[in-house]
């Protein structure tokens, strides 16, 4: 395994994510405040720390759904951390508690950026990128809750397109081989096919099965 980058290198590598993530945080804060009050969204961004799950849970509450349904949507959206944790696991160091703590640094961007494509992950990049991005997510939520009223409806200024564009940029950097492109297309196809019929979250987890294309020997 090549040596890990330092955490500082990870923070630097993730600097381009800071402003986009801040915008996402602002849009979460604006949308969540009427439903969850002023403090709830901020505490949620600190503790749950997952845009996908937070937006999914919020969507259920906005639609008048029960708390249990909101929890289920958030947990299903987050279920992808389970296979991602198993992927990152062998690249972490230390005892069980230290590894569990380092595992908390797994988010989509840090996972993609630290993946070396050979099954190993750069631990410094993983942790540093999450520190940079997490700070922006929390700060954005605070701005959205406190000053977001000035923005009006986030959808009117297109903030709901920030998330897919953000993931597309990460994907463009990730899909360097023909095989990775094939897996990406298969993953998107699985997600789209399941979205009309499966509960929120399931389509995204099921799409990770596309990675099994890697079992085929070249």
């Amino acid at each position: 395994m090549p040596p890990d980058s330092g955490i500082r290198a990870g923070v630097r590598a993730a600097l381009p994510l800071v402003l986009p993530t801040l915008l996402l945080g602002v849009s979460f804060g604006v949308l969540a405040k009427p439903v969850m009050g002023a403090i709830g969204p901020i505490v949620m961004s600190v503790l749950v720390f997952s845009g996908g799950a937070q937006f999914a849970a919020l969507g259920v509450l906005q639609a008048g759904g029960a708390t249990g349904a909101a929890i289920a949507a958030g947990m299903l959206m987050n279920a992808r951390w389970l296979p991602m944790g198993f992927a990152v696991g062998p690249s972490l160091r230390g005892g069980p508690l230290a590894r569990a703590l380092q595992g908390q640094a797994i988010v989509d961007a840090s996972f993609a950026m630290s993946s070396r494509g050979d099954g190993t992950f750069d631990r410094g990049l993983l942790i540093g990128a999450t520190i940079a991005q997490g700070s922006a997510w929390i700060a954005g939520t605070v701005i959205g809750v406190t000053g977001g009223g000035l923005l009006g409806d986030p959808a009117r200024i297109g903030l709901d397109a920030v998330f897919p564009a953000f993931y597309l940029t990460l994907l463009a950097e990730e899909a360097r081989s023909g095989r990775a492109v094939a897996v990406a297309l298969a993953g998107a196809a699985i997600a789209v096919a399941l979205m009309p019929v499966a509960p929120i979250g399931i389509p995204v987890i099921a799409a990770s099965l596309a990675a099994l294309i890697g079992l085929r020997t070249r």
Binding site: L82, G89, F163, A165, P196
Partner: protein, 102 residues
């Protein structure tokens, strides 16, 4: 209001557990080449699914084609022109806002 705190508490505990399960149980095991190949491909599979999901979700099961698709197409153009991520997301938001305005 307390329902919100239950939601936050349960999601927090669940997320911590999901992220810790893999690192705690697999240890520092060496990977077979086939397993490594699969793991190396998890990121593109998940990211592509997230692009599709975030572009087309109506917030409940279903598909919804709206101005976000215009934003995504604009983002793809900006990426092809090798613009920075910040430019890409601003282009996406602007294109989506314009598509909604017309």
């Amino acid at each position: 209001m307390s329902a919100v705190w239950v939601l936050i508490g349960v999601l927090c505990a669940g997320t911590v557990a999901l992220k810790a399960a893999g690192p705690v149980t697999v240890g520092a095991r060496r990977l077979s080449p086939r397993v490594a190949a699969v793991i190396g491909l998890v990121a593109p599979a998940l990211l592509a699914a997230l692009v599709a999901y975030e572009t087309l979700t109506p917030g409940r099961p279903g598909l919804e084609v709206d101005a976000r698709l215009v934003g995504l197409a604009a983002a793809a153009g900006a990426i092809a022109l090798r613009r920075s991520m910040l430019v890409v997301v601003i282009v996406a938001a602007t294109a989506t806002a314009l598509a909604r305005a017309v």
